[in-house]
């Protein structure tokens, strides 16, 4: 999944016109990107947790995060930090 799918997601951050086109007609943009049916379904679901889980399930991306293959990663983790002054 990693390369084509991730490049496609990254491209939205660099190409606002493509993002606008996706919002107007997502099927046309997904077809033009050559994504697999599973990847298309994932993006059309609109569920970012599912997308994140799918990305993290990719061994290459999991390794990029610095997480060993036998370690599980939550669907979402608070990135912020409690700063408690006692």
């Amino acid at each position: 999944m990693a390369s084509n799918f991730t490049h496609f997601l990254i491209s939205f951050g660099e190409n606002p016109q493509q993002l606008e086109a996706f919002k107007q007609d997502p099927h046309a943009v997904l077809d033009a990107a050559g994504l697999t049916p599973a990847e298309k379904t994932l993006l059309l679901s609109g569920n970012h947790q599912m997308i994140r889980s799918a990305l993290v399930a990719d061994p290459g991306l999991k390794e990029a995060m610095g997480i060993s293959l036998d370690q599980s990663l939550p669907a979402n983790w608070p990135a912020f930090i409690h700063i408690i002054q006692i």
Partner: protein, 298 residues
């Protein structure tokens, strides 16, 4: 002349610094698109990159830009106190700086907002005689202002971490906007990744309802991580807060309930004509969408 003298001092200062430096940058909230050109350049040119980001695409992108990149994620462990993880991260960062390398550390969002190890690493590096600097990034709060259409200058804005807000009984003004962060993990000081206990949210709701009307509008907000999705913006009456589905990174926005009164003595002292203020439109930081939602409920 003064510029030359300042530059000479700067050069002298630089020569006194030990080799090895630290620059801390942020990736913004939405992957890739919110990284500044300056941050990207530092990631690219660093001799060692260490990063702590929460999505694999950004992690992959950082490693692509600089192959020396190493994740700090392994320091998080289930059940381990977060502070211990952060102390270890700081030590790992300093270890590379002490080798004399130009180190760039990358954090999710703004690297100085709700990020303990970034500030600690900079403080420690400077104490040890190394050059250390932080660059600003796009934080969740920046996204919130843009997505909710809030201008913090209009009524003022108070911003607290939710647990901190409760345990210190922070003073706040119901005439100003109130932002509470991390309402999904109130009271949790560990790195537990299981389902979050909603007890804290019930406590927060009860506490806030002592100061606001139960029906006062509130918004549960979550910035969009992926550009193809919209941010989460859920309108809810304050008293129903604990009944709402939230995530560990949900934020609570409460618009002002009252309009602030004027201090006429202060107006006099500042030479401000109160008639000019009286003719100005009264504004209250309730986003248009939120107002519509609650108007329809009436």
């Amino acid at each position: 002349m003064a510029v030359k003298a300042a530059r000479a001092l700067e050069i002298k200062f630089e020569t006194l610094m030990k080799p090895g430096s630290l620059i801390v940058v942020g990736t913004g909230i939405q992957f890739i698109g919110q990284i500044t050109l300056e941050a990207r350049a530092h990631i690219k040119q660093a001799e060692k990159v260490l990063f702590l980001v929460n999505d694999p695409i950004t992690a992959d992108w950082i490693r692509d830009v600089n192959p020396t990149a190493e994740s700090l994620y392994p320091y998080y462990q289930q059940g381990k106190a977060r502070i211990n993880s952060y102390v270890e991260m700081v030590e790992r960062i300093l270890c590379e700086v002490r080798k004399g390398l130009r180190v760039c550390t990358v954090f999710y969002g703004h690297p100085g907002v709700f990020v303990y190890p970034s500030h600690e690493a900079i403080t420690q590096a400077r104490l040890e005689g190394f050059s250390a600097k932080m660059l600003p990034g796009i934080s969740s709060e920046d996204c919130l202002f843009a997505d909710l259409g809030i201008d913090p200058a209009r009524t003022g804005c108070q911003s607290f971490e939710a647990t901190d807000f409760l345990i210190h009984k922070r003073k706040f003004d119901t005439g100003c906007s109130l932002i509470l962060w991390q309402i999904g993990c109130i009271g949790d000081l560990t790195s537990n990744v299981g389902p979050y206990d909603s007890r804290g949210l019930h406590v927060l709701t009860e506490y806030l309802c002592q100061y606001y009307d139960a029906a006062h509008p509130a918004i549960i907000y979550e910035a969009a991580e992926y550009p193809i999705f919209d941010p989460t913006i859920e309108h809810v009456p304050l008293a129903k807060l604990a009944e709402t589905q939230i995530s560990p990174i949900s934020t609570l926005y409460i618009p002002p309930q009252t309009t602030a009164s004027l201090d006429y003595e202060m107006l006099d002292r500042l030479g401000i004509d109160s008639h000019v203020l009286a003719s100005a439109p009264q504004t209250i930081n309730i986003p248009a969408e939120s107002k519509k939602f609650f108007d329809e409920l009436k």
